[in-house]
């Protein structure tokens, strides 16, 4: 049943030790920072986390890993210049890693949400990451059998939620959010705006059926969105619009 709560702490309060948690975001875009911080404060441990990365610097997911609260991580790109907490935990053998190509990661969660038992993906065929997996040649092309990834919880960031739990996202912050919302038994969303009116039904990206808990938390996304709306209202182009092409910029140099 859909609930709107007031704090990130309340939003993540159901997450128990040992849960599988899908965490949205690609880079900072769409990363539910405040929900991750609240998960940190909640004390839940022994978690399996699904995220594109394995934490960066000294914040969010990296701190969860530093504190050894993540038993296993399923991700596509754990090693980054500032993934020192993951690196240390991994080298100490204190975190399990399942490395999954990014598209298979998204598609495996999509399969979980869509009730698909498994699917043949061409990605990774003939590589180390397909070792031990069933392969099959179909119409002359090689595929690897991939299985669904389900979450007990999803923590995602959307831009706005209407009273029915319908969600819209903002630019490339959409990334994993809509897929993770379908793949988790309980989806927790932080949004910049909690709306009083329903969204336009044609514009809804994640229907409310996939949403369980919503918490409004203003972030920089809201600031940029208001700048963009002001520009449009004033008849100016959106601030993020390219003013020159790459070719023109290169020629300038």
């Amino acid at each position: 049943m859909l609930e709107f709560v007031d704090t990130a702490a309340e939003a993540v309060s159901r997450i128990t030790d040992g849960a599988t948690v899908l965490i949205g975001g690609f880079g900072n875009a769409g990363q539910p920072m405040e929900l991750i911080d609240a998960l940190m404060d909640s004390g839940a441990t022994g978690l399996t986390v699904v995220n594109n990365n394995a934490g960066q610097a000294d914040a969010g997911l990296a701190l969860l890993i530093k504190e050894r609260r993540v038993a296993k991580i399923i991700c596509s790109f754990p090693r980054q210049s500032d993934s020192w907490h993951f690196d240390e935990a991994y080298r100490a053998g204190e975190i399990e890693l399942e490395l999954v190509p990014q598209g298979n990661l998204a598609e495996r969660m999509r399969a979980a949400g869509a009730g698909i038992g498994g699917f043949f993906s061409p990605t990774g065929y003939g590589t180390q990451l397909a070792e031990g997996k069933e392969v099959r040649e179909i119409d002359g092309k090689h595929y690897v059998l991939e299985s669904p990834i389900r979450g007990d919880f999803a923590l995602i960031k959307a831009y706005a939620a209407d009273p029915y739990g319908n969600l819209v996202y903002r630019k490339t912050a959409r990334n994993f959010g809509p897929v993770m919302a379908t793949a988790a038994a309980h989806t927790i969303v932080q949004v910049d705006e909690v709306l009083d009116e329903p969204l336009n039904p044609e514009h809804v990206v994640t229907p409310g059926i996939y949403v369980d808990t919503v918490v409004g938390i203003p972030t920089g996304s809201g600031v940029k969105e208001r700048e963009e709306r002001e520009a449009l209202t004033a008849g100016r182009p959106k601030p993020c619009m390219a003013t020159k092409t790459a070719a023109e910029l290169a020629a300038q140099k």
Partner: protein
């Protein structure tokens, strides 16, 4: 999806120059080979520079696997928006006609063969088009693959942009890759400082261009690979 024709480029007869291509020259060669109206994914790093040579008249649309078609140059000043980044996590701009979609839709677009060209870097490429660009297989190294394997097999054509030899002088075009593979038989062309090479499953490598390297030197450095001059 567009029906790309790269015939014009394919039938180019062999030609050569005396000096290796600079990175900018190489980027321009690749850009010139991309057909008007194409949908293209440019990998992180050097491949990104190809966009500097794609004129607006060509109407090439850039895809970034984190969920967007139609992004523009790197954002500066007020343009910077943390919610608008490319796969390299660099803030970019929006172009007219852009669209946003989620990660599963984005990789479906790639895996489904809807992109015309993907340009990637490489550690090694085999004569039959196997690609190694995600891991040097060093023991103890922490593996990370990202979208590399999806990109390698997704586009109608996968081009590799690289130097033909490492800084130490080791070859990167192999009879068989020694580094862990990213994809099997997926690369159709190598664009390098010293050679533009067309690959196919036969393993016979068609040499379209040589720069600061003779055909004989190329053969000598790759004794286990069979080369043929284009248009010969």
């Amino acid at each position: 999806m567009s029906e790309q024709t790269t015939e014009a480029a394919d039938v180019q007869a062999f030609h050569s120059t005396d000096t290796p291509l600079t990175q900018d020259e190489l980027a321009r060669v690749i850009a010139d080979d991309i057909a008007p109206g194409s949908f293209v994914n440019l990998g992180i790093g050097q491949p990104t520079t190809v966009s500097n040579y794609l004129s607006p008249e060509k109407k090439v649309t850039l895809h970034t696997e984190n969920g967007m078609l139609g992004f523009g140059p790197q954002a500066t000043g007020d343009q910077v928006d943390e919610d608008l980044i490319n796969a390299g996590k660099i803030p970019v701009t929006e172009l007219p006609g852009a669209s946003y979609f989620h990660h599963a839709d984005s990789f479906a677009m790639m895996r489904g063969g809807h992109l015309d060209v993907c340009v990637l870097g490489a550690y090694q490429v085999s004569a039959t088009g196997d690609l190694a660009n995600w891991s040097t297989g060093k023991p103890g190294a922490i593996p990370a693959v990202g979208g590399a394997m999806d990109l390698a097999i997704g586009a109608k054509d996968t081009y590799v942009m690289m130097d033909l030899f490492t800084k130490k002088g080791d070859r990167k075009l192999m009879a068989e890759c020694t580094f862990p593979l990213t994809g099997v038989g997926c690369v159709s062309r190598i664009y390098s400082d010293r050679a533009v090479l067309l690959l196919d499953p036969s393993g016979v490598v068609t040499v379209r261009e040589l720069h600061g390297l003779t055909f004989e030197e190329l053969q000598e450095r790759h004794p286990d690979v069979r080369f043929e001059k284009a248009g010969a």
